[in-house]
């Protein structure tokens, strides 16, 4: 039987999706600003972070109100709780995108250290992970969510490889240290974004199956691979 407060849950879901899409857009735009040295785009991204922050507050507020006044049970309750946690992850993703944009402005002032290949590759994977994790929200696909968790290893690998490359750069040419450090931080941000995507995927599994898979053996194995 349809109840009058069902529409509130629908609104809640669409707000989450909107926040996810906004976060994805911020990351993509930040990378674009970096690769194309577009300072004005970067400044816009930094300003737009307010939207994501506002959405986090709205979603949390709405979640608390819904739990308080509607006493949700079962999947409704899981939805509300997952929504609160996901909004937190997405807000952090937005902050990372802002951080990338800031560094893009600083890097844009000087010529690039080397052609941007690895960072865009990392970003692409991280964005795909985010997209897939948010798709689970609409599709209830546990396999997809697990695949996202396993892909985190790829991003971690590229990050480690980039660290080694940049370290050797810095040792050979000390004048590149400031730029190299910015790049390392950007790589770290992208790795963090992938981690947040993994968190979101775990939350989606909880939402659809009621199973809390965080820190379980199944997923730990894929996370922590021995250093190559």
């Amino acid at each position: 039987m349809k109840r009058f407060f069902d529409v509130e849950l629908e609104t809640f879901r669409s707000q989450l999706i909107r926040m996810g899409e906004t976060a994805i857009e911020q990351v993509r735009a930040a990378m674009k600003a970096l690769v194309e040295s577009d300072a004005s785009l970067a400044k816009r991204i930094i300003a737009d972070d307010d939207q994501i922050d506002a959405l986090e507050v709205t979603i949390d507020d709405e979640a608390i109100r819904y739990m308080n006044l509607r006493a949700p049970i079962a999947s409704d309750l899981r939805l509300v709780i997952v929504g609160m946690k996901t909004s937190h992850d997405l807000e952090r993703v937005g902050d990372e995108a802002t951080s990338i944009a800031k560094r893009a402005i600083r890097l844009g002032a000087e010529p690039p250290l080397k052609p941007y290949i690895d960072l865009p590759r990392m970003a692409a994977i991280a964005l795909e992970m985010l997209r897939d994790a948010l798709d689970c929200f609409l599709q209830d696909d546990e396999a997809k969510a697990i695949a996202v968790c396993k892909r985190d290893a790829e991003v971690d690998n590229i990050n480690r490889q980039l660290y080694r490359e940049l370290t050797s750069f810095m040792l050979e040419k000390p004048e590149t240290i400031s730029r190299a450090i910015e790049l390392m931080f950007i790589s770290k941000s992208l790795e963090r974004i992938a981690d947040h995507a993994t968190n979101i995927a775990e939350e989606m599994i909880y939402l659809s199956k009621g199973k809390d898979v965080r820190h379980t053996e199944e997923l730990k194995k894929s996370h922590n691979q021995p250093a190559a």
Binding site: V57, T58, R65, L69
Partner: protein, 283 residues
Amino acid sequence: MADLNRSIPAVPPVTAPLAGRAAPVPAPADEAEVAFDIRDFSLWYGTLQALFDVTIRIPARQVTAIIGPSGCGKSTFLRALNRMHELTPGTRITGTLLLHGEDLYSPAIDPTHVRRRVGMVFQKSNPFPTMSIAENVLAGLRLNGVRDKAFLRERLEQSLRMAALWDEVKDILGRPGVSLSGGQQQRVCIARALAVEPEILLMDEPCSALDPIATAKIEELIRDLRTRYTVVIVTHNMQQAARLSDRTAFFYLGKLVEYDATRTIFMNPANRQTEAYVSGRFG
């Protein structure tokens, strides 16, 4: 001691950019039309005082819930709103009770007229046993002298539709009112109350005798009625009050302890007793 008259509007949801939130919360605008304006209202049953200086303003076209433990005076207060307490001999009141500015207790007013404007639905559904469903719904009109058959037919269908019962009973309108299920009977009683077109609908624990599905149907109905009627509902079901109402009043021992937006009462009540009651730690 909580200030009984404080009225904090709900904080508007944040859609504006973050900077906008830093602005101070705007002063409560008197936008809501007031249905009942009650000041220092006290009620005695003989020498026993049942209500103590209740001051409250109930907004129009919203659902106001009245909650409180047994014997706190919530039913007494509800019945005072349409002078039903006068059935018991020996009751008297002091204070003012205005309905859209009119004093309901002034000597010039006939209590029967008050009850036509302020309808009531009771805890136990009570369709008249000697009447059919149609006769029940139209009882308030026919027994007040309305004879126009076309008008009555139209009002019958209108009221039953408003009570979300038309489709279920339109073919069995001649059956006795008591032959329906409990939830349907209660909806017949609601249709009966609506048929006389009151301004206010008072509901005294309307769902407490019903199963969850019948309760859900009536809650949906109350939610729909909200756009046209002012509803005051007494309930001991806290979740129901939280779901349905816009404002909630907490009574204890005949006093109005706290009255505020429902969200505030359930999330962040100002009074310790209110918090104890809504979180189930009372008594």
